[in-house]
């Protein structure tokens, strides 16, 4: 209190003003939250979280793209040449040295082994959404023989790692598991 004629002690009125203000603020915030959170995906959207993909017809050098949570997921049966190219890359050459694989340790290196399926190094499963601004990269194209994003020119290698262009991260590998030798459950 700047005025000298008032006491330094807070008055009953100060107390009422502060508590009323605080209750008002909490009340407004708690009513505002439903109006914000309604915009988030609801349970029915989040429930569509897993799909099963049959890859028995997938020959070496072929890929299929399936829709998972509204996003395309590519499953590629890589050729031996692609696997070798993926393995030959040194970690220092990578723009993003982290595996970005939901099935391995979050800090794991982006080696070819950490990117491809466990014990099936020919199978690569990735969310095919460019990590720059969300376009869909084209299969089997670009300077590194992997994926090329037509929107802003990002280039990914045969293990889906970002090598050139504006994208900051490797293409993410979703959670998935082999339910049998030829079936994958994504999500």
């Amino acid at each position: 209190m700047a005025h000298s004629d008032t006491t330094a002690e807070p008055t009953r009125r100060d107390f009422l003003l502060l508590t009323a203000g605080a209750f008002g603020a909490v009340g407004v915030a708690s009513v505002a939250w439903p109006f914000i959170d309604q915009m988030n995906p609801d349970a029915s959207t989040r429930a569509l979280a897993s799909i099963e993909v049959d890859i028995s017809a997938l020959q070496s050098g072929q890929s299929i793209t399936v829709l998972w949570r509204g996003k395309p997921v590519v499953v590629r049966n890589r050729t031996d040449k692609e696997i070798e190219e993926g393995k030959a890359v040194k970690l220092e050459e990578l723009k993003d040295p982290i595996a970005r694989n939901a099935n391995v340790d979050p800090s794991a290196d982006a080696t070819d082994a950490n990117r491809s399926a466990k014990d099936k190094e020919n199978i690569l499963v990735m969310v095919k959404v460019c990590t720059h601004l969300g376009c869909i990269p084209l299969d089997e194209s670009g300077e590194f023989g992997g994926w090329f994003c037509p929107c802003h020119g990002s280039q990914y290698d045969t293990a889906g790692r970002i090598r050139k262009g504006p994208a900051p991260e490797n293409l993410p590998v979703p959670v998935y598991a082999f339910t049998s030798d030829t079936k994958i459950r994504i999500g």
């Binding site: 914000i36 915009m39 988030n40 995906p41 959207t45 793209t65 829709l67 949570r69 509204g70 996003k71 395309p72 959404v129 720059h132 601004l133 969300g134 376009c135 869909i136 994003c149 037509p150 929107c151 802003h152 020119g153 504006p166 994208a167 900051p168």
Partner: protein, 416 residues
């Protein structure tokens, strides 16, 4: 322009209203007796043209909403239904779609006029800032409206633009999910964009009221940039400004109608006549022409700046390029308003216009090789113009002599 109101209620109903709701006085003071500088040139008619465009967009939009279905399974077909089946639907949709482009043409002329003649300087700072807010709202309305036909460009434009938010560290991803209401752009996104696209024009209308209010408090700037000193410097709004505004509105409508009737798709993209497909990105994504300079700035940042990676850097540069204009009244240190008396500013201004136009061209081209380099040079000039050139010019530039008054300048010209 404060001053005594010259309105005198005459008829019985005017007198009755005057005591209860003096709305006739308000309209008279704002639209009839309001004094306007007598030397205004045709560039000052774009405020009126913009008000007209807002009305056209709202009216045509309300009609389109009667026939449009904001559901991802129906939207594309409902727009085609408007084009083929709805009585006059083709006309109303082309009026609305081309109206957006015309709105932006008019607003860019209006903004550049303000920039050249220093209309943002004291005491018109707030008037300018309100204008920047209107422009931002227009961009939001234009973007969300473009998503509604649910074609390929709609879908991928929405995807790319909402992905801007993922550049923000930590909270970016949750914000993007909140905005689009899912893990990817989908029906939830389309629905909320329709709701907001309907809302934003009315917010714009509200801010326009504040913009005009602020204008009527400080009065219009003029090509000389000097203050109105006496009544001789002005003429009443009606008939002088209303007739001039009316003439240029008609000329603008002729230009607009030429697009509507002869080139209705010239300013659009053929890709948007392909239904949205979340599995295929069009080979070449470009925004609508009015966003191209900002798109080029976004793509110009291909390098990391310290801890800021190129993605976040591009997004920050793009938003920054608009945000910086809000600070213009305080960045320009020159006391002289009009570019007519500022020889160095004039050069910097036209270079700025050239840089923005070139950025617009670059934004429409694929981002490779020299295009990126040119965009970086133009982006550097864009920011230098606001952050270096305008602050410095005020100190080093020697402006030409200003005329004593508007009337003196007008009379001197009419003698020749």
């Amino acid at each position: 322009m404060s001053g005594h109101s010259t309105y005198e209620p005459k008829s019985g109903i005017e007198k009755w209203l005057e005591k209860r709701l003096p709305i006739v006085r308000l309209l008279h003071d704002a639209g009839v007796s309001y004094p306007t500088p007598r030397n205004l040139n045709p560039l000052w008619t774009f405020g009126g043209i913009l008000a007209m465009m807002l009305v056209i967009q709202i009216v045509s939009g309300i009609v389109l909403a009667m026939h449009y279905a904001s559901n991802s399974a129906l939207a594309f077909d409902s727009v085609e239904g408007i084009m083929r089946d709805v009585n006059w639907g083709w006309l109303i949709r082309y009026i609305h779609a081309n109206g957006a482009s015309m709105f932006f043409i008019a607003v860019y002329i209006h903004i550049l006029r303000g920039l050249y003649y220093g209309s943002y300087k004291e005491p018109r700072e707030l008037l300018w800032v309100l204008g920047v807010i209107i422009y931002l709202l227009m961009m939001a309305a234009g973007f969300m409206g473009y998503v509604l036909p649910w074609g390929q460009m709609s879908f991928w434009g929405a995807t790319v633009i909402t992905n801007f938010f993922t550049a923000i560290p930590v909270i970016g991803q949750p914000i993007q999910t909140l905005l689009i209401g899912g893990f990817a752009v989908d029906n939830a996104t389309l629905n909320r964009f329709f709701s907001l696209h309907y809302l934003v024009p009315f917010i714009i209308a509200g801010v326009v009221v504040l913009h005009i209010w602020a204008l009527h408090v400080v009065g219009q700037n003029n090509p000389l940039g000097i203050d109105v000193k006496s009544e001789k410097d002005t003429v009443p709004f009606t008939p002088y400004a209303t007739s001039k505004d009316g003439l240029f509105m008609v000329l603008f409508l002729v230009f607009y109608a030429w697009f509507v009737f002869y080139q209705p798709n010239y300013l659009g993209h053929p890709d948007n006549y392909t239904p949205a497909n979340p599995l295929v990105t069009p080979a070449h994504i470009v925004p609508e022409w009015y966003y191209l300079p900002f798109y080029a700035i976004l793509r110009a940042i291909t390098f990391n700046i310290g801890p800021i990676d190129s993605k976040l850097g591009g997004v920050l540069a793009m938003f920054g390029s608009i945000a910086v204009t809000a600070f213009l009244p305080w960045l320009d240190t020159s006391k002289v308003r009009s570019g007519r008396f500022r020889p160095l500013f004039r050069i910097a201004f036209w270079l700025f216009v050239a840089a923005v136009l070139f950025l617009g061209y670059l934004g429409s081209q694929p981002a490779d090789g020299n295009a990126v380099l040119y965009a970086q040079v133009c982006t550097a000039y864009y920011f230098a113009f606001f952050l270096i050139i305008l602050p410095v010019l005020g100190f080093i530039e020697k402006p030409k002599a200003l005329p004593n008054s508007i009337i003196e300048d007008v009379l001197a010209k009419s003698k020749h």
